[in-house]
């Protein structure tokens, strides 16, 4: 059983699928690993099953992913769904488990296409049953045709409005939308508008969604500066602060969203350099023109490196694959550049809207850096703001000391839902820059694996 590949791709979202397809065209030996049961990532999740059903409510942009999924299925690659990738080493050894068996494979090149995740949304009560992300609601809608009725949608960002719109098209009642976008963003975004005018249609589409929501009679509440979810054992309402006082909406379902951020755990654990993106308020993986990271032979494409959206992810996957193919001499550099040229043009065009979107939807500081003592920062270990402040005062000036002292970040999610909050909170309290504060030191396994699996780990035969 050979476990050596030309290119190992981690993730079968748009970036991963596009990379696989591109590489397969040049007869490279490809392995693509994905933790979900079907390809598509999150943005095109359940594309294949929905193609067999009649689901116009999901919108055109979702349907546009289907050709990519089909083309991916036709590609001559080894595709392993339900694969739990738990390690990527600097030397391009990829450890993964499937059906209870752990394996190690080696790629001459690796393309990480780990995609995006929801940004943490630390408000009082965000850990209560009945509170989910808007992305979770969309997954339930796409995959299971389940709608969460009479939910209050809170937050900001294009995905929030897309899903509310999908709900309306599907006839699922929405209780209210609480828009937490800071008013000041509009002005800053206007400065970026000239560059975005090439993608005017998208901007118009977004306004169209808002208009439809209002027309459907769904309350759209702006000017909110604070939010709490009550109550003791499960969500039963949202309290929001507006116009000088607290207001309340009863609901057992609260859906939160304030943008998506790159899922960087595997890249960080491997040792890729990251940098802070001050507009998006998240970490980006440092990559070159071919999406190669600071580690030779390891590329990071799509939203897993920095947020650009599903279409940009596809282009970046293609470019990363071409770069990888040239490095293993499947194609020469001239051929690589020739093939990449039109894709780069499309990619650049697609990315022109980003500065505008990023400025417009930059999440409010108050919802990134919680102040109330009892807000849970680390969901897994239930560490509150008050506890973190105490530990920082004792003398733990960084996320790693904090982790050692308080277990914050030591739970199974490995900091995915607390890391950003912790880094920003420490920077805020100590006055250091976020670059100085840094981030958790991540190691593999980036997802848990059973000790029994590890004990029986199959290693590649020596070469």
């Amino acid at each position: 059983m050979t476990e050596h590949y030309d290119i190992v791709i981690i993730g079968a979202g748009p970036a991963g699928m596009a990379a696989a397809q591109t590489a397969a065209r040049h007869k490279a030996k490809i392995l693509i690993l994905d933790e979900q049961a079907a390809p598509g990532g999150q943005i095109y999740r359940a594309s294949e099953t929905n193609a067999k059903l009649d689901r116009p409510e999901l919108g055109e942009s979702y349907q546009s992913g289907l050709p990519l999924v089909h083309a991916f299925r036709e590609s001559d690659v080894s595709y392993v769904p339900n694969a739990n990738v738990w390690q990527l080493s600097e030397d391009r050894e990829v450890g993964y488990s499937k059906d209870g068996i752990a394996r190690m494979v080696i790629g001459k090149q690796v393309i990480v296409a780990s995609g995006a995740q929801e940004r943490p949304f630390p408000v009082p009560g965000w850990t209560l049953p009945g509170v989910m992300t808007v992305g979770a609601a969309q997954i339930l809608l796409k995959e299971s045709e389940i709608g969460i009725e009479n939910a209050v949608f809170c937050g900001s960002g294009p995905l929030l409005y897309l899903v509310v719109h999908q709900y309306l098209m599907a006839g699922i009642p929405v209780k209210a939308v609480i828009d937490l976008q800071p008013g000041g963003n509009y002005f800053k975004a206007l400065l970026k508008l000239p560059g975005a005018l090439a993608s005017l249609s998208k901007i118009i589409q977004g306004w169209g969604w808002k208009r439809d929501i209002v027309r459907a009679g769904v309350p759209l509440i702006n000017g909110v500066s604070d939010l709490r979810i009550s109550e003791y054992n499960a969500a039963n309402g949202v309290e929001y602060y507006r116009a000088g006082r607290w207001h309340r909406l009863d609901s057992e379902h609260v859906l939160l969203h304030q943008g998506v951020v790159p899922n960087i755990n595997i890249s960080r654990a491997a040792g890729c350099d990251c940098q802070w993106n001050a507009v998006q308020c998240c970490w980006n993986v440092v990559v070159d023109d071919w999406f190669e990271s600071s580690l030779s032979g390891i590329a990071v494409a799509g939203d897993g490196a920095f947020i650009g959206g599903g279409v940009a992810a596809e282009y970046s996957g293609c470019i990363a694959a071409l770069g990888a193919l040239a490095k293993i001499r499947r194609i020469d550099n001239r051929e690589r550049d020739r093939l990449a040229h039109p894709i780069r043009a499309a990619y650049t065009k697609e990315m022109r809207l980003r500065p505008f979107i990023d400025a417009l939807f930059k999440p409010a500081k108050h919802f990134r850096i919680p102040k109330e003592d009892d807000v849970v920062v680390c969901r897994c270990e239930e560490i509150s703001v008050a506890q973190l402040r105490e530990v920082i005062d004792i003398g733990c000036p960084g996320p790693n000391q904090l982790k050692s002292f308080s277990r914050c970040g030591m739970g199974p999610c490995q900091g995915r839902f607390c890391g950003l909050t912790v880094s920003e909170l420490i920077a805020d309290i100590t006055g250091k820059t976020i670059e100085e504060v840094g981030y958790y030191r991540l190691r593999s396994p980036i997802k848990p694996l059973r000790l029994g699996e590890l004990a029986n780990l199959n290693f590649p035969s020596g070469d």
């Binding site: 933790e35 979900q36 049961a37 999150q42 995740q117 929801e118 850990t127 209560l128 049953p129 009945g130 509170v131 989910m132 992300t133 992305g135 979770a136 997954i139 339930l140 995959e143 299971s144 389940i146 054992n233 499960a234 899922n263 969901r379 897994c380 270990e381 239930e382 739970g411 199974p412 999610c413 995915r416 839902f417 997802k447 848990p448 059973r450």
Partner: protein, 92 residues
């Protein structure tokens, strides 16, 4: 519909869904109690990132319910605090 056992009682779930989606659909409001304070939790992200939907499935603890497909005859249990991982009678 698919027959499973949930916390010792028979339950009918929609087939073709993740365990998390199916349980939510069936009206199950909380999935586990946290190890530190015993607080109730339910799925949060539905995509395998938050680790809040952990259940004991077929005797194995810490399973992400959103990443596991419903299967006929599945034995599903709420996970309470620390997980139950004692294998049945295997000391050899």
């Amino acid at each position: 519909m698919v027959s499973v056992t949930f916390d010792g009682k028979p339950l009918q779930l929609c087939g073709g869904l993740s365990v998390a989606a199916a349980l939510l659909e069936a009206g199950i409001g909380h999935f586990r109690e946290t190890p530190v304070t015993g607080s109730p939790r339910a799925p949060f992200c539905m995509m395998g990132v938050c680790f809040d939907c952990l259940l004991i499935i077929d005797g194995i603890a810490n399973q992400q319910a959103c990443m596991t497909q419903v299967r006929k005859g599945m034995i599903i249990e709420r996970q309470s605090g620390s997980a139950d991982a004692i294998a049945q009678g295997d000391r050899s």
